[in-house]
């Protein structure tokens, strides 16, 4: 329309956007509370923030897919409030979960979007080969989109968005549920696109570190922009406050993290490379007041460190405003009970010293609680789990890592007795749970990914139901329910309908229900996906405490950095175990003489690459 208007290199302009939704309990929640934003031509802008920060709502308002409550949006000079679809022929958009028709083939999806965007036959002749070359989808044109892996879906979604040549490309969480290798490939594609075409890119991601690929990062939290600027600017909020602490030999990094997080001076503490990364709050005087941090070494902050500093500030502000939120850490009561004695279990630590021990090694002569030997699971001619082996010891936190579709969920379901095995053997606490008598299941607690609670029942009724399900009676039943209510801070919600309580509390209730019968082994499926970073810290603090009490914890996650909390882990992809061992052992895989500080993610990418190379060689030899 009026691209000659002043400031024509401003592609997106948002002013003071507000948007609220009914919260299903009669009230409303603000998804956006006054967001103003400018995106300039040719930039790559990352919209980062945890789930529920308002990223998707903001993107939908920019796309004209939703009316705003108040505020203005201008895209490519078009007033989107008045003409929601005015810019659509110059903007391409890929929604969450890629917006593909899963029952159409790759080619049919591509053709559909080409037709809808009015791409001529001549243009298609040049565009299609380009897109296929970019995405490596050329071989799969006849495959149904629903049968592609997460990474391939993501690329197909991108290809569909790029059948026209847009001025502006908007991608909503394109990297969620996708393996690290595919994520890396996507960023490579995007960087190249911005370089070669005059394209402006707005991309949202819950992975803070991905913002580092972009020129500009907009950090969102609870409907507001916490800060924006270059990734370096954001990181600088933690400058001079980011430290590395070497873990004392007697304890595990996650135990040190749990202790550190007790301190009111600390914005963040996470295990990293066997050490602990520590970020101080903005108002903390220094590391001096923290006894555990005596050997702290200041390091270069990252974007996520800056984010945590800002986040703690924001939370403190809402708290002083008197709004208690589910985001807070566990209650002081549970903290002192659980996290306080990190050294008790030190004797059982063994992994660190035996750097190259095989995954199945049993130390201390103790029998493993979980034994998996040569496990195979087929669905038709598809091998979901392909000859998998590992053992899990008592009191361990064991991670099953891998992208969606790697086979970790299938393995996990077989462990829990939810799925029969095709072949191999599997023992959990001495039983195959699938055929075990009811009593064997008493040893196991399970929390599914979508907190499996009865949403129509009240909190109290859920607790009562699961107590009965596990056959708790009399005094013990009373004690355990009391314990769960106290431990998970549920006292004020007992008569609320579970469907209506905040997600943070749902997650707590799910944990409470799974722990009522004091299981020896706790299975957690993707417990941290879709969880805000503060709640994630809280969660790991709790898990650490439980492991310290001797509970064995088996957890699946697609957050590679969370592997640092595990004692040992296996990394899976395409149904096979690519690597296994302690975090240190895993990291070593990716270390080279010039790269000493490899992360688990680096290691993962490294192993996948090796794997692909080996596969190529094998097929060449054959």
């Amino acid at each position: 329309m009026d691209s000659s208007a002043p400031g024509s290199d401003v592609i997106i302009h948002c002013r003071d956007l507000h948007k609220s939704f009914p919260d299903g309990r009669g009230g409303i929640t603000a998804a956006l509370a006054g967001v103003s934003l400018e995106v300039r031509r040719g930039l790559m802008v990352a919209l980062v923030g945890p789930d529920g920060a308002g990223k998707t709502t903001l993107i939908r308002l920019i796309m004209g897919l939703m009316p705003t409550d108040t505020g203005d949006v201008t895209v490519l000079g078009n007033n989107i409030i008045q003409h929601p679809h005015a810019a659509e022929s110059d903007v391409s958009y890929m929604p969450q979960k890629f917006g593909l028709y899963e029952d159409l083939t790759v080619q049919e999806n591509l053709d559909l979007y080409a037709d809808l965007h009015g791409v001529s036959a001549a243009d298609r002749k040049t565009r299609y080969p380009e897109l296929f070359a970019m995405t490596n989808l050329g071989r799969f044109t006849k495959r149904l989109a629903g049968r592609l892996s997460g990474g391939m879906k993501q690329k197909l979604g991108l290809a569909c968005a790029l059948v026209q040549s847009p001025q502006l490309l908007i991608l909503d969480e394109p990297t969620v549920g996708v393996d690290p290798v595919s994520r890396q490939e996507l960023w490579a594609i995007l960087l190249n696109l911005v370089k070669t075409r005059s394209l402006t890119l707005l991309i949202s991601t819950p992975y803070l570190e991905e913002a580092e690929y972009c020129n500009h990062a907009v950090v969102m939290y609870q409907g507001r922009i916490l800060t924006e600027g270059s990734p370096q600017d954001v990181a600088n909020h933690a400058r001079g406050r980011t430290f590395r602490i070497t873990t004392p030999p007697a304890i595990k990094p996650r135990q040190l993290v749990a202790t550190l997080l007790e301190s009111s001076l600390i914005a963040d503490a996470v295990p990293e490379g066997g050490d602990v990364r520590l970020v101080l709050k903005a108002d903390a005087p220094g590391v001096a007041g923290i006894p555990e941090a005596v050997n702290a070494v200041e390091i270069k902050p990252q974007l996520s460190d800056g984010f945590m500093v800002l986040l703690r500030q924001a939370v403190a502000k809402t708290q002083t405003a008197g709004i208690a939120s589910a985001v807070n850490g566990p209650s002081a009561h549970s903290r002192s009970e659980s996290g306080g004695t990190p050294t008790v279990q030190a004797a059982t630590i063994s992994g660190q010293s035996a750097a190259h021990a095989p995954i199945n090694a049993t130390t201390n002569g103790e029998k493993p609680v979980v034994q998996v030997h040569d496990l195979v699971r087929r669905f038709g001619d598809f091998i979901a789990v392909n000859h998998v082996n590992f053992d899990i010891r008592k009191g361990e936190i064991f991670g099953l890592l891998g992208p969606n579709g790697a086979g970790k969920s299938t393995t996990f379901r077989m462990l829990c007795g939810l799925l029969p095995l095709t072949s191999g053997t599997l023992r959990v606490a001495g039983y195959d749970l699938r055929h075990a008598r009811a009593s064997a299941r008493q040893a196991v607690g399970y929390v599914a990914q979508k907190f499996s609670l009865y949403s129509q029942l009240s909190v109290q009724e859920n607790l009562a139901f699961f107590a009965s399900a596990y056959g708790l009676r009399g005094i013990r039943r009373k004690q355990r329910v009391q314990w769960a209510i106290a431990e998970f801070d549920l006292a004020n919600l007992l008569s609320n309908i579970t469907g209506g309580i905040p997600d943070g509390f749902k997650r707590r209730l799910a944990m409470a229900c799974a722990l009522l019968h004091e299981p020896a082994i706790l299975f957690l499926d993707e417990p941290t996906s879709g969880v805000d970073p503060l709640a994630r810290r809280e969660f790991w603090q709790r898990i650490t405490a439980m492991a310290d009490q001797g509970v064995t914890v088996v957890v699946t996650t697609h957050f590679m950095e969370e592997a640092e909390y595990c004692d040992r882990m296996v990394i899976m992809m395409n149904g096979r175990v690519l690597a296994g061992g302690t975090p240190t052992e895993i990291r070593t895989l990716a270390m080279t003489p010039d790269k000493r500080d490899a992360t688990i993610e680096d290691a993962f990418i490294h192993v996948v690459m090796e794997e692909q190379k080996a596969g190529l060689k094998a097929s060449a030899a054959a």
């Binding site: 929601p84 679809h85 958009y93 917006g99 029952d103 049919e108 559909l112 979007y113």
Partner: protein, 377 residues
């Protein structure tokens, strides 16, 4: 509209319809609803269901063995409606009737032939009327058999029996009173409702549930184009269903089509549009496949079955229920179908009923179009 814009519009509609058709053919639940169930219904209605009784088993208690009593028995035995069997006593006959082994008892009292000569004989006929409709039918058949027997007797005895008034009846449009003649055309209502309303109730909701609308809304496709392209494939499937059902009616079940085929096709297409409108409207409103299918069942299919006049005549319903039927499109379609199949092109039926359907199509499709906006939430 410029030529180029028109071209783009056509291309988008074709692309979207193609997509819709592919999804339809690849979805097992649409195969079940759109193909398996209609075929099952055709077979059931064509071969299975009938309101007409044949070879009704009746017990005959012959307390009188005279030739005249025997000839009554013979008349029943000779009728294609009855299958009489002689039993020894009323006690036994009653037992058979109560157990449902026979549907009626013919009792020839011991004084039958004496009374017959005296001119006041009774043939006692008892039915089990827990199925009242069938009982009434059987009783009518029995009257017919007795009239026939009397007529025969007039001939053989050279006597004229005097009945002051007799009825000479003609059943127009369905001379042989075959209930299949009205059940099979009515079947079209069910099939069209199934394909038109129940299947499409899922298609918009599915796009909401799977999040595909979001990326569709970001393209230049217009809301009207979305609606049209959802109609086209299901309309085609509905017309295929119509063709199959009409062919089956005509060839397998020998139901006559006395009206003109083009008119039949036209009004069926019209009803299909109404059904599509209802299905899409439900789907657009609910945005949830589960609620949509429940609503479609309750609001479209069950009323089409029970309240359309297809099995149960609307004239028999109390006024309040009759009032409800006026808002049901199926009612108008049933009237059209029964007329076009059995009576012919009677414009005084076709025009008003078709006009109501046109109005309803406009309302439902119009509302769907209005409610389809390229907006989330």
């Amino acid at each position: 509209m410029s030529h180029k814009a028109k071209f783009g519009k056509m291309r988008r509609i074709i692309a979207m319809s193609k997509k819709e058709a592919r999804q339809m053919m690849r979805d097992p639940s649409s195969i079940a609803l759109g193909i398996v169930l209609p075929l099952l219904l055709i077979l059931l209605f064509g071969y299975g269901l009938s309101l007409d009784a044949h070879h009704v088993p009746v017990a005959v208690v012959m307390e009188d063995h005279s030739p005249s009593a025997q000839s009554v028995f013979g008349a029943f035995a000779g009728s294609r409606y009855f299958q009489p069997r002689a039993v020894n006593s009323m006690v036994q006959a009653n037992r058979l009737l109560t157990a449902g082994t026979v549907d009626g008892i013919i009792r020839m009292r011991h004084n039958f032939s004496r009374n017959l000569r005296a001119g006041h004989a009774n043939i006692q006929f008892t039915t089990n009327s827990i199925d009242a409709n069938r009982a009434r039918l059987i009783e009518n058949y029995a009257s017919g058999v007795v009239s026939g027997w009397l007529a025969q007797r007039e001939l053989t005895h050279g006597q004229q029996y005097y009945q002051p008034v007799t009825i000479q009846q003609q059943i127009w449009f369905n001379r042989s009173m075959d209930s299949r003649y009205f059940l099979v055309p009515g079947l079209l209502v069910l099939i069209m409702t199934l394909i038109g309303a129940l299947m499409t109730a899922l298609v918009v909701a599915r796009e909401w549930e799977r999040g595909t609308f979001e990326s569709l809304f970001a393209t230049p496709v217009q809301p009207g184009e979305i609606v049209i392209s959802k109609i086209i494939p299901y309309f085609c499937l509905g017309m295929v269903g119509l063709a199959v059902a009409v062919t089956a009616a005509r060839i397998l079940f020998q139901v006559p089509i006395r009206g003109s085929l083009p008119v039949l096709i036209l009004v069926s297409a019209l009803y299909l549009l109404v059904a599509l409108g209802m299905g899409l409207l439900i789907s657009t409103r609910t945005k949830n496949q589960f609620i949509a299918s429940q609503a479609a069942l309750l609001l479209t299919f069950l009323p089409a079955m029970m309240l359309s006049g297809f099995i149960f005549d609307i004239r028999s319903m109390p006024p309040a229920i009759q009032a409800i039927t006026y808002v049901l499109p199926a009612r108008y379609f049933v009237a059209l179908l029964q007329t076009l199949f059995l009576a012919g092109d009677i414009w005084s039926v076709i025009l008003p009923n078709a006009a109501v359907l046109v109005l309803m199509a406009i309302i439902f499709l119009g509302l769907t179009r209005r409610l389809t906006v390229k907006r989330l939430a």
